[in-house]
Symmetry: C2
Subunit: 194 residues, 2 copies
């Protein structure tokens, strides 16, 4: 299983947003929508061995974590708008603390923050994608059943970085990239090693 | 200069489409919109050394080529919808044969097909991205000032493949990927070699 956790520092935690203004009106949820595409799509199919967590920290009801499971998901299209509609539905669900609810096939929502997600999935095999980390291509670790933690365009807070203390840091090359580009590069390296 | 040419086999050649149905109502123009993001965006900036051609072959007025020039482009946002609005504008321009017109800063439109674009930019340094090509990472060529030709989800026609006869074929790994994922992988390899 390849697992990605992407933190949206100001991504909306309500389903009350317009599909016509994803870039301006959702706290940059669009950044995370592109991560969904990179995490799951092959040219003619979905990657079933992927779990993606989107940790949403924006108003009005933070935090929320949307979990998407490749082996269970249905009706996923590659474009931003239709994925946003799935998240809009997930974020509209009434959510008691401590409970994860299935919003639609393979899409689950809970009140976990980054630390909560890491506690749930375990820190073993977890790495933090960071521009000053060890180069992925030179990485001797086996890189199977990994959890990759990524920030959005605002990166992670000092508290979140504290929660990642002790995890390996991995970088992907000389340029600083968008989170969804990073996921594409990670998949390619893991595909090559598989 | 890094140049990408992406062919959209049925991508609309009219600006008369709805921004609310990019996946269903544009002949999969959405596939090409994602290529724009991958071609130009860094985490906090644009790649100015990139030229991207989108070759559109769908109804009602094929072919058209939209050329985007990183060194000149303004007002480019990473999301699909706002990029679609730029293309909608470019495709609404009245276009005499043989002429390229600037639709907005750094975005040009003409009536070229793939062969026409290749004639214009030259075949030197041009390669065809193909799942049965030589592996990019093992490629001994210098990989600077390259032109990369990519198909959309329908690939290229036999006639187009004929026009690419004699060009090197390069592959990116064991999985068949979306065109925009390929562009991300190409950039990373070229960034590492630069």
């Amino acid at each position: 299983m390849r697992r990605f956790i992407v933190v949206g520092q100001r991504a909306t935690t309500s389903g009350d947003f317009s599909l016509n203004d994803l870039c301006g009106g959702t706290g940059r949820l669009d950044v995370l929508l592109r991560c969904v595409n990179s995490a799951f799509f092959l040219s003619h199919g979905l990657r079933s061995d992927v779990e993606l967590y989107l940790v949403l920290k924006g108003p009005p009801d933070p935090p929320k974590a949307v979990r998407m499971l490749g082996s269970r998901i249905l009706h996923l299209n590659p474009d931003e708008r239709s994925t946003a509609a799935l998240l809009k539905n997930a974020l509209s669900i009434r959510l008691p603390k401590g409970l994860e609810k299935e919003a639609s096939e393979g899409i689950y929502v809970s009140r976990l923050d980054l630390e909560g997600v890491l506690s749930k999935v375990g820190r073993e095999g977890a790495v933090y994608l960071h521009e000053r980390g060890e180069d992925l291509r030179g990485c001797k670790a086996e890189l199977r059943d990994m959890t990759f933690v990524l920030g959005d365009d605002q990166g992670l807070t000092p508290d979140e970085e504290g929660a990642l203390e002790g995890l390996a840091r991995i970088s992907l090359g000389p340029q600083v990239l968008h989170a969804h580009h990073c996921i594409t590069l990670l998949h390619n390296e893991l595909d090559r090693r598989a």
